[in-house]
């Protein structure tokens, strides 16, 4: 994809990702990074960096909407997020020292376990 077609595809995918992110309470990077690498041909590191720059305004807009509706607690969220940002810097340094495939495997299994539990909780009995 090139030029105007790519831009249109990115805007459309952004709309889809933003809606998913706002509903699911995530940044949307997990959806955007594969799209950027596979569909738009962006290299992995650039895709992660670009997606993070999109995550920021997405999270701000969603947070403002939720704050106006009295859902959650934005000041509390920002406070523990600031501490999390420190963890993020540490994580990036650790990532350079640890085998990535082991981390990915452990993480995937953790998510699978949580997914099973949430779906089981949500199903009518």
């Amino acid at each position: 994809m090139t030029g105007i077609v790519l831009v249109a595809a990115l805007v459309a995918f952004g709309l889809f990702t933003g809606a998913g992110a706002g509903l699911l309470g995530v940044g949307g990077g997990i959806m955007m990074v594969p799209f950027l690498t596979l569909a738009a041909g962006v290299p992995q590191h650039a895709a992660e960096a670009t997606s993070l720059l999109v995550v920021l305004p997405t999270a701000i807009v969603a947070s403002v909407v939720l704050q106006r509706r009295g859902i959650g607690n934005l000041s509390l969220a920002l406070r523990f997020g600031v501490l999390g940002a420190g963890g993020g810097a540490l994580g990036a340094l650790l990532a350079l020292a640890l085998p990535a495939h082991v981390l990915r495997l452990v993480f995937a299994l953790f998510l699978a376990g949580v997914a099973v539990r949430l779906v089981r909780d949500a199903l009518p009995r």
């Binding site: 790519l6 990115l10 995918f13 952004g14 933003g18 809606a19 998913g20 992110a21 706002g22 509903l23 699911l24 309470g25 995530v26 940044g27 997990i30 990074v33 590191h45 650039a46 992660e48 670009t50 993070l52 720059l53 999109v54 995550v55 920021l56 305004p57 999270a59 807009v61 969603a62 909407v65 939720l66 509706r69 859902i71 959650g72 607690n73 934005l74 509390l76 969220a77 523990f80 600031v82 501490l83 999390g84 940002a85 420190g86 963890g87 993020g88 810097a89 540490l90 994580g91 990532a95 495939h101 495997l105 993480f107 995937a108 998510l111 699978a112 997914a115 539990r117 949430l118 779906v119």
Partner: protein
């Protein structure tokens, strides 16, 4: 189910002492940031389940808290990646143009959706993500 459901209905139990934070929130924020930095994924995928299953927040509140916490976490990451010259501004601008409209739609839906449906949607989303990660090993 009933025990957890009632705990969830009451919301978080402990009022924290560290910087006015529940120590569990502190740990969740650091873990979210850590895994985000380690794996290059959004911290929300980690923070939402921990906020619900460990800290006892309702699903909806956990999603809102996660979105708020993502703001400083992604800001820090963007600064680091930006300094490395990795950000593609045109692509980011196009995606963001769509996603800020989408975020309003998604957040409005989050404000209305039934707790049980939200749990199901998030569980299916995580299931899909975990399968994708296992396949891409």
């Amino acid at each position: 189910m009933s025990e957890r459901a009632s705990a969830a209905a009451m919301g978080p139990v402990a009022e924290g002492r560290f910087a006015g934070l529940d120590p569990r929130l502190l740990a969740i924020g650091v873990m979210g940031g850590l895994l985000s930095g380690l794996l290059g994924v959004g911290g929300g995928v980690v923070m939402v389940p921990l906020l619900v299953l460990w800290a006892g927040y309702r699903q909806r509140d956990a999603h809102a808290l996660s979105l708020g916490a993502i703001i400083p976490i992604s800001l820090a990451s963007v600064v680091i990646f930006g300094a490395a010259g990795k950000v593609r501004l045109v692509d980011a601008a196009a995606l963001a143009a769509g996603s800020i409209v989408g975020a309003r739609i998604g957040a409005s839906a989050l404000a209305r959706i039934e707790e049980r449906h939200l749990k199901l949607a998030f569980g299916l989303f995580l299931g899909a993500v975990s399968i994708l990660m296992l396949v891409r090993q």
